[in-house]
């Protein structure tokens, strides 16, 4: 399986990468981990004339905690996310998601930016990033903007990024106080699996035995983009955590889901599983909140 020919560019700074993308625009594709791009090029799904690698830009490889914010560089791999102490301890849902992406071999290549810009509805990183209200940093030669990840995706394979923009990283305001978070992926196999349904949950409590002051539920693989289950979040707000409450939130999330039938599973099954997994994810988040 040969790759079609292309011209290769290897800028060593964000500024020079922006210059190259500003010039080549739709003719070029950015290369980070390559686990999507190289596969799609081999299958001739896309045939860019130019490939612009981000692999020599060291500043894109760091995880930096500063002033209560965490910045994750575009080229941080899934394995690095899953292994980073600050993420395991403070953003556990993200560590969970990164640990089940692809396979151990894929996780050593695949990057956080790649998992976002590919915009696959079942991707493992968008839901656990969205529960922390993560922001994407988009840079091009003429300027920089920050875009909420909730709103970044437009449909399967589509984002609001412009052809000359580069996603250089993610910023997250570190949650504080009594909060818990989790991510659950449902598939028929444990590795190299595309989710049938995935759910990320985040709840903040007014003390370990207190009521819910903030809730985020994000569903994957049950719509054209990862989606916030707004009615489930509303059902949780101000309430005391309980099994019955989490079951009601699960039913609400099932109502928010927009699943389709495909060869992996039926819409009906996916909707039922949203209810089950949302309840389960909330219980896991509660356990973490109370042990934090």
């Amino acid at each position: 399986m040969r790759l079609p020919g292309f011209e290769f560019h290897e800028p060593t700074s964000v500024a020079s990468a922006c210059e190259v993308m500003g010039r080549l625009r739709e003719k070029a594709r950015l290369l980070a981990g390559g686990t999507d791009l190289i596969v799609n090029m081999k299958k001739k799904v896309i045939r860019p004339d130019h490939v612009v690698s981000l692999g020599r830009i060291d500043i894109l490889k760091g995880i930096i905690e500063e002033n209560g914010h965490l910045t994750i560089g575009a080229c941080v791999t899934a394995a690095e996310l899953a292994g980073a102490e600050v993420i395991r301890e403070s953003l556990a849902a993200l560590a969970d998601g990164a640990a089940v992406l692809g396979s151990p071999l894929i996780r050593n290549l695949a990057t956080v930016a790649g998992n976002l810009v590919s915009a696959r509805p079942a991707a493992d990183l968008p839901p656990p990033l969205m529960v922390y209200d993560a922001q994407t940093v988009l840079i091009k030669a003429t300027g920089e903007r920050s875009v909420d990840l909730n709103g970044f995706f437009l449909g399967p394979g589509k984002t609001l990024m412009e052809p000359d923009e580069i996603l250089t990283g993610i910023t997250i305001e570190m949650p504080k106080g009594c909060y818990g978070d989790s991510y659950i992926k449902l598939g028929v196999r444990q590795t190299l699996e595309i989710s049938l349904v995935n759910v990320a949950a985040f709840i903040q409590l007014n003390g370990a035995e207190g009521s819910i002051t903030k809730a985020r539920i994000v569903l994957g693989a049950v719509g054209p983009t990862p989606l916030r289950a707004i009615s489930a979040e509303e059902a949780l707000m101000g309430q005391s955590p309980s099994d019955a409450l989490f079951a009601r939130a699960g039913e609400a999330a099932a109502g928010d889901a927009k699943p389709i039938d495909d060869f992996r599973g039926s819409a009906e099954y996916r909707r039922d599983m949203v209810a089950v997994l949302t309840k389960r994810a909330l219980n896991a988040a509660l356990d973490r909140a109370r042990s934090r």
Partner: protein
């Protein structure tokens, strides 16, 4: 247009002109001539092309050779030494963990990567570590037993 890259494979330095659309797997097999690295699915799903790139096991079919410029690569050929086979290779032979052999290079490199980090890995960790390597003979049980038997002999170099 070809690009001159320098890379270290199994502690030997190579300087080689490659095309941008050659993968690391292509270059290792066809230009360097080390055919222990196999090509199976070529899209990152089977793990037969596993090499250890700067200390981490990866699918070499998904890495462009130009991306490997300046990097250190270990292939299956780098495991045996003057003293003979690597302990993981010996374990695979002793436990009958090889059937057709096509997945073996990748399995052994994934196992080495695990045991280097966790010499006392349990069965669950062993199965997780080789979960990106498929054996179409489905000989997993003996592969897992072979890797576990290495662990019992103490840390692996």
């Amino acid at each position: 247009m070809k690009k001159l890259i320098r890379l270290t494979i199994n502690d030997q330095d190579y300087e080689i002109a490659v095309k941008p659309n050659q993968t690391l797997a292509d270059v290792i097999r066809e230009d360097i001539g080390l055919t222990g690295t196999k090509k199976g699915c070529e899209v990152g799903e089977c793990g037969t092309c596993t090499v250890i790139l700067d200390g981490k096991p990866v699918n070499s079919c998904l890495v462009l050779a130009v991306q490997a410029d300046g990097k250190h690569i270990l292939t299956i050929e780098g495991l045996d030494t003057d003293k003979g086979l690597h302990p993981i290779q010996k374990a695979f032979v002793e436990k009958g963990a090889i059937q057709c052999g096509f997945c073996t290079s990748g399995m052994i490199l994934s196992a080495k990567s695990l045991l280097d980090r966790h010499p006392d890995a349990d069965e669950h960790e062993i199965r997780a570590a080789i979960s990106g390597n498929l054996c179409r003979c489905t000989g997993y049980q003996k592969i897992v037993e072979a890797i576990a038997s290495v662990k019992d002999r103490g840390p692996v170099s």
